[in-house]
């Protein structure tokens, strides 16, 4: 088995698969290592499918806007996989004055960065989505947001990258990174296999913290549980992505007809840790109550399954991207904080550019590893 390549990518989620794809397209040789037995087994397959600009931190907004302009509209054709991308807008719903305040603040910050997003009243919300209850009194509306299928998109990147010659190995858990003459070079695995490359991309979600720690780099992030439920197929109702000011729930109706709704119980961080992401008994009923208040006519829709996953939650809520001064040869792509799906094509493309040409179209300065400082300087 070949164990050297120009780039070793650690992590076979959407970020790792997409970086591998953009690198191999530019002619680089790539080995991609996935620790679990399945491609896209972390947050890549466990998220709400939002391809969203509104509600994001201004530091990562230019990157996601770049992706929605250049990659998402043609991604299904490019990957020969139905990514089920819909660009029909995002409604972030509010019911109270406090919600309105939160949404107005988010909207003002996004407008400053050049995003087309505005506040609308309850009647206008119901003109866009007539199924919403009278409880909704306001919303932020971003017409260029949307949603896609995270499962097929992730596997589509994998399939296409593999076809173009990326060497994927699953079940290969990285235990250590090693420098040679001051430059990162070797990737040591639990199996005893050692891989060597000129560049090592670390895109292993939360596991990135442990792996980066072996070369003295500590990325301030924690896991946080995310849960969602899926309904049986329903007649077509609407195509917008939905969220709420209080984050009661979020989600959309899929091409298949089922609704995928994520949400929380408010007890996150204190639920039982079984070592694997298992749904908490109180969460799905709580999400159901939230949904019924917004969509009374979904009360008879049947839930067919629930699922849970972990987010790699970064200290300041935005990803850590790019090169690291202390470790030449290392490129970080982690800490996406539960909203890494929509931004994945742009982040992966720009990091592939950085590796091949040394420059990027979007300024990634605010997302670098050296941005973290203690509160008293």
């Amino acid at each position: 088995m070949r164990n050297t390549a120009e780039v070793i990518v650690i992590g076979g989620g959407i970020i790792g698969c997409a970086i591998s794809y953009y690198l191999v397209k530019k002619g680089a040789s790539v080995i991609c290592l996935e620790g679990s037995d399945h491609i896209g087994n972390g947050g890549s397959s466990r998220n709400g499918g939002g391809v969203r600009q509104s509600g994001r931190d201004p530091r990562e907004l230019p990157l996601v806007m770049y992706g929605i302009k250049h990659f998402w509209p043609t991604l299904s054709e490019e990957l020969e996989t139905d990514c089920e991308y819909h660009q029909d807008g995002n409604l972030r719903l509010g019911k109270t004055e406090k919600h309105k305040e939160i949404l107005t603040g988010l909207t003002e910050r996004a407008v400053k960065v050049g995003l087309d997003v505005r506040m609308i009243d309850g009647d206008e919300v119901r003109r866009i989505n007539p199924y919403l209850s009278e409880e909704v009194t306001c919303a932020s509306w971003c017409p260029t947001d949307g949603h896609a299928n995270p499962l097929t998109t992730t596997l589509g990147y994998y399939k296409t990258a593999r076809k173009l010659g990326v060497h994927f190995i699953t079940g290969e858990q990285v235990v250590e990174l090693k420098k040679v003459k001051g430059v990162l070079r070797k990737v040591v695995c639990a199996s005893g296999n050692v891989y060597e490359g000129e560049t090592v991309v670390l895109a292993a979600g939360y596991e990135s913290r442990r792996i980066a720690g072996t070369v003295g780099i500590d990325i301030p992030m924690q896991t946080a549980m995310l849960e969602a439920l899926v309904t049986e197929a329903q007649p077509h109702m609407f195509d917008q992505m939905l969220g709420t000011a209080e984050a009661d729930f979020y989600g959309h109706q899929t091409k298949h007809g089922s609704f995928v709704f994520g949400g929380s119980s408010g007890l996150e961080g204190f639920t039982k840790d079984n070592g694997t992401p298992v749904c908490y008994a109180k969460t799905a009923p709580c999400i159901c109550r939230g949904i019924i208040k917004y969509f009374p006519n979904l009360a008879d829709a049947k839930i067919v399954r629930t699922w849970a996953g972990w987010m790699d939650k970064c200290a300041d809520g935005v990803p850590v991207l790019g090169k690291v001064g202390e470790v030449p040869g290392l490129v970080l792509a982690c800490g996406f904080t539960g909203h890494g799906f929509g931004i994945a094509p742009a982040a992966a493309h720009q990091l592939a550019e950085l590796i091949i040409t040394g420059r990027t179209d979007v300024d990634l300065h605010d997302l670098r590893y050296d941005r973290f400082h203690a509160k008293i300087e």
């Binding site: 620790g35 037995d37 076809k163 060497h167 994927f168 190995i169 049986e232 009360a299 008879d300 839930i303």
Partner: protein
């Protein structure tokens, strides 16, 4: 326990078969041919097949087709079905209306 799995290993070439049109996952209407083709596109685990094609994601949640899918994938990979992981089961056991699921009151308790 995770097993090192080299995804560039060559499989026997895909040969169309007369029963490729046979429905395997009845809920989501996925055929044998679609499953076989997905294996050749790189989907080598039950989990990946499910996420790629939706087998076992319908109303019965794979209670009917999981065993059949596993046999097809194993044969295509040239391995024993025992080498593939069991298909994932997720709560609830049976489809359940949101208004029922949303109600956590114990039997006999009064309406709030």
């Amino acid at each position: 326990m995770n097993t090192v799995n080299d995804r560039s290993r060559e499989l026997k070439p895909f040969v169309p078969s007369p029963d490729d049109d046979m429905l395997i996952c009845r809920c989501e209407e996925i055929t044998k041919g679609e499953i076989r083709k997905a294996v050749h596109e790189g989907m080598w685990t039950m989990t990946e097949i499910r996420r790629y094609l939706r087998t076992g994601m319908g109303l019965c949640q794979g209670q009917t087709c999981a065993k059949l899918v596993k046999a097809i994938v194993a044969r295509e990979l040239g391995v024993s079905p025992a080498q593939l992981e069991p298909a994932t089961s997720r709560a609830p056991m049976r489809p359940i209306e949101m208004r029922v699921f949303a109600n956590e009151r114990k039997e006999g308790q009064e309406d709030a």
